[in-house]
């Protein structure tokens, strides 16, 4: 109980409240401007969190991501341009509703059911994380080794429609993480005698380069004509929400459950949750023919899914230190920076920190409703913001944020290289998210592998000796071989049939 009281004090104080308010406005703004993603918002925020206490820093991350994911619905609805990838699944539907004169219902559904989905995901986080943490307390390096391998396999198979390119990006991330002396042997790798590289390639410059600078570059080179805002008045966005809740309770629950599960899977985040949920909603709907014509059912289900996925992604991040999506990969970086190393002991040594995170999630999803309402009110002005003025300002924020972490101009160079490389690779359909997972998980994977090898005296069979490790190992091998077995099966089947 003392821990809970302490957690309330950590959250409800002037500093944290001011940071939550500022982060809310920042997240809503970035999410609402097309071309600026939720990941970019978090990447730009990380340098600021460097100067904050741990809980205010986490408050900033939680609030910004929740607000940005919701705000992505606004340009989707009024411009047919999703503000973030998580809104892309139902952008056409929301835009069709706006054109039919129901923009207020589309935006209201996005807002209210995002908050409900977010609260559902938080409830699962609160209930599941401590149980998993208790279970994970018995984990050794063997279990962690297999868990990381299984996690990255899921990330490649689930999150990317191009697993080969995803795998290449993941390996690239691992190799970037192996630069410097941060390895079990403390041997300087790939430094080329450059002392700036002894500490490795900074996570933050890479992050800002890959998710912020590359997006600025893409926007600068984008020649698509400016989208026209739907000229429909927006009245009371909350009107009819209760009726929708009563009409579609199964859809809300289904979207929230699916979103939380997908979010908790490593590598799959809000965007995949929303796509899967929208598809499921259409498939199971009593009125599937209405989908695509401006029907609210899919927006309700996938809107709940994308925000519940946010909280779901924190479960493996907090319990195992394995990011559920790109946003939690950034959060894990911040947790390490703040000496709140993720893992089961986080729940036992300082429970007040965990309670504070739970409170932050609940609070962020509750204040999303008034803040989101206010944003919808000024939406048309927000969407008219001059990007040609905004982009250079964001770029300067990227540079100063990168520089501020280590006061190093070298890091600015890393950011630039990472930004250009990410831009080129994304243009060629390489997913960037696996690379950042590789950077975060690379050192963990190597450390647990080396520890396990030393413990087992080089006998690889010992990797399967413990029950949980054995199960995880077999599951990983099945996940690796399944695509190959499927291809083989498909090739063999016609021959058998013709024989």
């Amino acid at each position: 109980m003392d821990a809970m009281l302490l957690a309330f004090k950590m959250v409800f104080n002037v500093e944290t409240m001011l940071i939550i308010m500022g982060s809310s406005i920042f997240g809503l703004f970035v999410g609402a401007v097309p071309g600026l993603s939720a990941t970019m918002a978090l990447a730009l925020l990380v340098p600021m969190t460097f100067f904050m206490e741990p809980i205010p820093a986490l408050a900033a991350m939680v609030t910004t991501s929740a607000m940005a994911i919701f705000a992505g619905d606004i340009p989707g609805c009024l411009l047919r341009m999703p503000g973030t990838a998580a809104s892309a699944a139902y952008t056409d539907e929301a835009y069709a509703m706006s054109r039919n004169g129901h923009a207020d219902t589309a935006l209201g559904s996005g807002l209210v059911f995002s908050a409900i989905g977010g609260l559902f995901g938080t409830a699962v986080l609160i209930l599941a994380a401590p149980v998993l943490a208790e279970f994970a307390l018995n984990f050794t390096s063997f279990e962690y080794f297999w868990l990381i391998l299984l996690g990255i396999t899921c990330a490649i198979v689930i999150s990317s429609d191009r697993p080969l390119k995803g795998a290449i990006m993941l390996l690239g991330g691992f190799l970037v993480a192996s630069v410097g002396m941060n390895n079990p042997a403390a041997f300087p790798r790939f430094t080329g005698g450059n002392t700036d590289l002894l500490g490795g390639i900074g996570f933050l410059p890479m992050l800002i380069g890959m998710f912020a600078a590359s997006e600025v570059l893409r926007s600068a080179l984008d020649r698509s004509p400016k989208a026209m805002i739907v000229d429909q008045p927006i009245h009371n966005v909350f009107k009819g929400m209760w009726e929708l809740t009563v009409k579609y309770p199964i859809q809300i629950l289904r979207g929230s459950v699916l979103g939380t599960i997908v979010g908790a899977l490593p590598g799959a985040g809000s965007d995949i949750a929303a796509w899967m949920s929208y598809a499921m909603s259409k498939k199971l709907s009593k009125e599937p023919e209405k989908f695509g014509t401006g029907h609210v059912e899919g927006i309700i289900e996938s809107g709940a899914a994308n925000n519940s996925a946010l909280a779901g992604a924190w479960i493996p991040a907090l319990v195992f230190g394995i990011p559920g999506d790109t946003l939690t990969a950034i959060v894990i970086g911040v947790l390490y920076m703040k000496n709140l190393n993720p893992g089961p002991t986080l729940f036992t040594t300082n429970p007040q920190n965990m309670y504070a995170i739970y409170i932050l999630f609940i609070f962020a999803n509750l204040i999303m409703i008034p803040f989101g309402w206010a944003t919808i009110k000024v939406a048309k002005k927000l969407l008219n913001v001059r990007r040609e003025i905004l982009l250079p300002i964001i770029l300067l924020a990227c540079i100063v944020g990168t520089f501020g972490m280590n006061n190093s101009a070298f890091d600015v160079g890393i950011m630039l290289v990472a930004g250009v490389v990410a831009f080129i690779l994304e243009e060629n359909d390489f997913p960037v998210a696996p690379a950042i997972l590789g950077v975060v998980l690379g050192p963990m994977l190597e450390e647990n592998f080396v520890k396990s090898m030393i413990k087992s005296d080089g006998v690889f069979a010992d990797f399967f000796a413990r029950p949980v490790a054995g199960v995880l190992g077999v599951l990983t091998i099945i996940a690796w071989t399944y695509p190959m077995l499927r291809i083989l099966w498909r090739r063999l089947m016609p021959k058998e049939q013709t024989a």
């Binding site: 290449i168 570059l217 020649r223 003025i389 100063v400 250009v420 592998f449 090898m453």
Partner: protein, 157 residues
């Protein structure tokens, strides 16, 4: 900017091979089965294999055969200039910020970026100066980031 998968695959094979060559000279750790070469070595081998598959697949499967194509932006000098200005501006900051100082280099790059993005001279100037001062106030005065003074060192406060 589209580069054919066969070329990109080949680049990954070359990078992987170079890494394998580099780690082959890394020492073994006494009394251990795994040394510093193990992890990057396995990853580089993976890069060689997957890069090779990407190249072969791109050659075998039907699809565009053009090896290299610039994006739509290449047909618009303004967009190409905007993209180039971002790269050169960041590089200029990395190289000259320490010598010139933040209060000199930041408004310069901002002004150029605004112009390259198609903003009028007057608005570019006002935005560049205001953004520099606000950023300086937030990061230098507010957060304590030691942004370089450079040429203005004697006026530092």
């Amino acid at each position: 900017m589209k580069i054919h998968d066969s070329i990109l695959g080949l680049i990954f094979v070359l990078i992987g091979t170079a890494i394998l060559y580099t780690v082959s000279s890394y020492p073994q750790m006494p009394g251990q089965d795994v040394g510093p070469a193990m992890f990057p070595g396995v990853m580089a081998a993976g890069l060689v294999v997957f890069g090779g598959i990407l190249t072969i697949r791109a050659r075998v499967l039907p699809g565009p055969r053009q090896l290299f194509a610039l994006g739509d932006w290449a047909h618009s000098p303004r967009h190409a200039l905007a993209g180039l200005s971002i790269i050169l501006g960041c590089a200029a900051y990395a190289f000259f910020s320490t010598v010139l100082g933040f209060l000199i280099i930041a408004p310069m790059v901002l002004f150029v970026w605004h112009l390259a993005f198609g903003v009028s001279v007057k608005t570019s100037l006002v935005s560049a100066v205001l953004t520099t001062l606000i950023t300086w106030a937030v990061f230098y005065k507010g957060l304590g980031v030691p942004l370089p003074w450079g040429l203005l060192k004697s006026y530092a406060f």
